[in-house]
């Protein structure tokens, strides 16, 4: 289950990062970054 959880978190992180990369509006980029940070820390098992 832990592997499934981390895989899903990594997939959502990747899609968020992809959206951040392709987005032109800085406000939407900042919002994407706010979402990506906790997901990144969770996927890296830091928190």
């Amino acid at each position: 289950m832990k592997i499934a959880y981390l895989t899903i978190a990594a997939a959502v992180l990747a899609l968020t990062a992809w959206n951040l990369w392709t987005e032109k509006d800085w406000r939407k980029q900042a919002t994407a970054a706010m979402v990506a940070i906790p997901l990144l820390l969770r996927v890296l098992l830091i928190k």
Partner: protein
């Protein structure tokens, strides 16, 4: 004047200024308000507190993100169009059954994703033209799908305002299904009939068929509904036999989305998932922002101050404050209202059944999506039915909204008696 009060006013002021004057997204306004709280309280930038705050909702973020991916996959597969066709074909001669069923279809994306906009823009866009074919004026059709949006957002299994309010007092989102069903389903049935029954006319199938998308259902048949059925079954099993089927909502939605890729119309799953996350990001950002906001309020003592102040308010005034301030604050965001006002009000009502009370507060908070100038649900609904001024839709929603407030307050007042019934 207590310092916590000054901090609270500063945080809410910065939040409102960013959201209304500078027109920043709600998520960034929450971040700015949190930074203001940190700086004024002498905690510096306190980045670790901001990051810590986002973790309060990281699992909710995963649920919403995967739900949006599932909903997008179901929509792309053609299942929503097919569901519409099946219901209209079977129940077109029984308006009293057809209208509540169409309301349920329109609510479905909101129930899964917890977002009223998702409901209005996906299933609402499918249901609204059918309602107009059946004889509803465009204002009533718009009000119908806007109402479906907020009722879907509150109905189980996913209710973000209740998650936010519960998160504020460390109450897990468990045991909310029945209270939320009790709150929303009678309203869904009643409002669908109120909006539609006096206008609906019996239309022959020959007249209806050319205006519906019959192709997908003809081609794929009932298997189109397999993802929805599998998700529903896994959710029920997850509740009844969690030791075997406790997969968690994100995995359940991913299984459903994977199934949707193979049972209906072909589509590019990667691009669909990217688009789904893009649509979800504003809501996900708000959740991260709300987490930061609550974390800073807790760190600085503002949360405790609000709770103590709310506890000292006389009950009658408390209910009046709930009825007025939460929907008004919802003009910024219903999620923001849940966070800033829902949590203190729930704490002020500690003598009530907490699950029922949080569920009822979430229903009042959802009305924020009707509140101008943002009025997301009403604006999207007006666009879908082709009305330029969304105030024409909004007018039809005023009395139902007042009824929703009264209904929710009755549930709060009698929360213990109602919860004793099940």
């Amino acid at each position: 004047m207590p310092f916590e009060f000054i901090l609270f006013i500063a945080m809410v002021g910065v939040f409102a200024a960013c959201a209304f004057a500078i027109k920043l997204p709600v998520s960034l306004s929450m971040l700015a308000a949190s930074l203001t709280g940190l700086l004024l309280s002498g905690n510096g930038l306190g980045i670790r507190h901001l990051v810590e705050g986002t973790f309060g909702y990281v699992d909710t973020i995963l649920v919403i993100a995967t739900a949006m991916v599932f909903m997008r996959a179901v929509q792309e597969s053609g299942a929503l169009d097919a569901l519409n066709v099946v219901i209209i074909k079977r129940f077109r001669t029984m308006p009293a059954v057809l209208l509540p069923l169409l309301m349920l279809v329109a609510m479905f994306p909101g129930m899964i994703t917890g977002s009223s906009s998702a409901s209005v823009l996906t299933a609402g866009a499918v249901v609204a033209p059918v309602l107009m074919i059946l004889g509803l004026p465009s204002e009533s059709a718009g009000a119908f799908i806007a109402m479906a949006g907020i009722l879907g957002m509150i109905a189980p299994p996913v209710n973000i305002p209740a998650m936010i309010i519960g998160g504020g007092i460390d109450m897990p989102f468990v045991g909310f299904e029945l209270p939320l069903l009790l709150l929303t389903m009678p309203l869904a049935i009643a409002f669908s009939l109120i909006f539609g029954l006096k206008h609906i006319k019996k239309v022959s199938w020959e007249e209806l068929a050319p205006r519906l998308n019959l192709e997908t259902y003809k081609r794929f048949g009932l298997r189109l509904f397999a993802p929805i059925m599998v998700v529903a079954i896994l959710m029920v099993l997850g509740k009844t036999v969690p030791q075997y089927f406790g997969l968690g909502l994100p995995l359940v939605f991913i299984i459903g989305a994977a199934l949707a890729c193979v049972v209906g119309k072909r589509f590019d799953p990667i691009n669909a998932a990217k688009a789904a996350i893009n649509d979800a990001l504003p809501v996900l950002g708000i959740l991260a922002g709300v987490g930061m906001f609550i974390q800073v309020m807790t760190l600085t003592g503002v949360r405790g101050f609000i709770v103590v102040s709310a506890l000292s308010v006389p009950p009658a005034l408390l209910y009046a404050a709930i009825a007025v301030t939460i929907p008004l604050f919802g003009a910024v965001s219903s999620f923001g209202a849940s966070s800033v006002l829902g949590v203190p009000f729930l704490l002020a009502l500690l003598n009530k059944d907490q699950i029922m009370t949080a569920a009822a507060l979430s229903l009042i908070a959802s009305l924020g999506d009707f509140m101008p100038p943002t009025a997301l649900s009403a604006i999207f609904a007006a666009q879908i039915v082709g009305i330029e001024k969304y105030s024409r839709v909004l007018k039809r929603l005023i009395i139902p909204s007042l009824f929703i407030i009264a209904w929710s307050i009755v549930f709060i007042i009698f929360s213990k008696q109602i919860s004793a019934l099940y």
